[in-house]
């Protein structure tokens, strides 16, 4: 599904992600672990095309390295931001309509229900009136509605109460069921458990990739072995 070859991302003249090689299979939930500043978000943004990169990104056999964000999105890749944007004047309904191929209310209602939000939130503006947690769930609903081939979720669990963790896990598993692959950036142990595979990134490099249970153990005792 996705193959990343020798990916390097420079920011302000410094390499933030260095020679990353990674493969994500179909219907695979792949966890990306790493301490703050390790390059997880930069990697996610590079896959989405937000940051330019060197190396190759192959998606379903096609080289998408030089494609703009929206063309990658139209090929089935999308990303949920760690800190979702506020949109003055745009209601949740209007925002979700943008990602939904079926422009119908019952589908939107179902999506907000799946992410644990009440129906009437659809009529609210995506502004300061909504909490960070609510905006994150809306972001998740938006990704769900797109039925992407590859969803990149950047810490969907941060700033959300512990009780909601299982709800987010369920959403991710639902995406997998629907046929999506998921790249999940997280710090939460509970979330790591739903992964098929996992990768630890440290100092912009891959330290270890493999079965998520094994990687979880390693990460717990040595989150950034490169730093000693």
């Amino acid at each position: 599904m996705l193959e990343i070859r020798d990916l390097t991302v420079m920011r302000d003249g410094k390499p933030i992600v260095k020679n990353i090689n990674l493969t994500i299979g179909k219907r695979e939930v792949h966890i990306i672990l790493g301490i703050n500043g390790s390059g997880k978000t930069t990697l996610a943004h590079a896959i989405m095309g937000i940051y330019p990169s060197q190396g190759k990104i192959i998606f379903e056999g096609e080289d998408i390295t030089n494609l703009p964000i929206w063309e990658r999105a139209r090929r089935g890749i999308t990303l949920a931001f760690q800190e979702p944007a506020r949109f003055e004047g745009l209601t949740v309904k209007e925002y979700l309509m943008l990602s939904s191929p079926e422009k119908n209310m019952s589908v939107l209602k179902e999506a907000v229900k799946t992410v644990g939000l009440p129906y009437n939130i659809l009529f609210q503006e995506i502004g300061d009136n909504l909490s960070g947690g609510e905006r994150k769930r809306i972001e998740l609903a938006s990704v769900l509605l797109m039925k992407p081939k590859l969803a990149i979720l950047d810490e969907p669990d941060s700033g959300i109460d512990i009780l909601s963790f299982s709800l987010i896990s369920d959403v991710i598993l639902k995406m997998k069921e629907m046929g999506s692959s998921v790249i999940l950036i997280t710090h939460s142990e509970e979330m790591i458990n739903i992964g098929d595979k996992a990768t630890i990134i440290c100092g912009g490099k891959i330290v270890k990739s493999g079965d998520s249970k094994e990687i979880k153990k390693l990460f717990k005792y040595s989150p950034c072995p490169l730093k000693g």
């Binding site: 964000i69 999105a73 990303l79 931001f81 949109f87 003055e88 745009l90 943008l98």
Partner: protein, 316 residues
Amino acid sequence: MEEIIKKEYETLVKYYEASGGNSGALLSTEYASMIINGDRVLAKNSTRGIKIITRRIKDGVSAQIVIKRGYKSKNPVHLCFGMLPREGRQVIRTKIIAEESSEAKFIAHCIFPNAVKIEHVMDSRVFVGKNAKVEYEETHYHGKTGGVRVLPKTRAIVAEGGEYNSSFVIKSGRAGFINIDYEVKLDERAKSMLVSKIYGKEDDEIIAKESIILNGPHSSGVVKTRMALKNNAKSKVIGKTIGIGEYSRGHVDCTEIIMDNAKAEASPVVMAVNPRAKVTHEAAIGSVDKKQLITLMTRGLTEEQAIDIIVQGLLK
């Protein structure tokens, strides 16, 4: 002559509907309404609680609209001011009197679809009586050439416990040259919100000077401006609020998005002459928010489509 008026009337109603107006209401006797083309009143309708009197003046029409004491209008008052020719000048002088405890909402459309060189002067006096409420929503459509000069001026006085809210909106077509000059004076516990939302393009020039004077104790007001400017459009926004009455509260809020070679200048003015008054402001001018833009692009929208959604949201 009657045939000409009928044709003008039908044409204006067609444009009125195209610019978002409810033509059904304009034609219904249950709604107070008025349609003016140039200096001619093509139609008007008073209702039980709302009386409209008009007279012709040089280059235009003078209208007095009275909302009777205690009358709370369920239906909005529909106003349509237009000029169908390519050139000309239109002067509209209105006096709106909302008597004590009355309520009415005005939906006004100013339409100059064929404008090449048109000047539209709007001079409005509004008197909102004790505990009365007036809302005035004004949507403009100036055509595609930008050959319009619009000079709207309002002086409103709001009595104790009264409320006056107005909005001035141009979302589609060209803005041309606009010079908004609004001032509202508030008595005790009176409230006001002045909103302007304008999309400027090409060489449009927009000046918006809106002031709320908080004379009365516990009065409150907000001046809110949202503008999007592209190409070589220019704007100058002066939002002003003056806290005079005890515990009066005022806020000036201006956000502008600029693209291409557009230029924006915002000067929020907050003054207080009473230590118990509180007046605040916020102003932001910048390019399209990058995070919003990228988020929409991750949903498959092109950059142009995403900018359009963001701008339309800002101006909504």
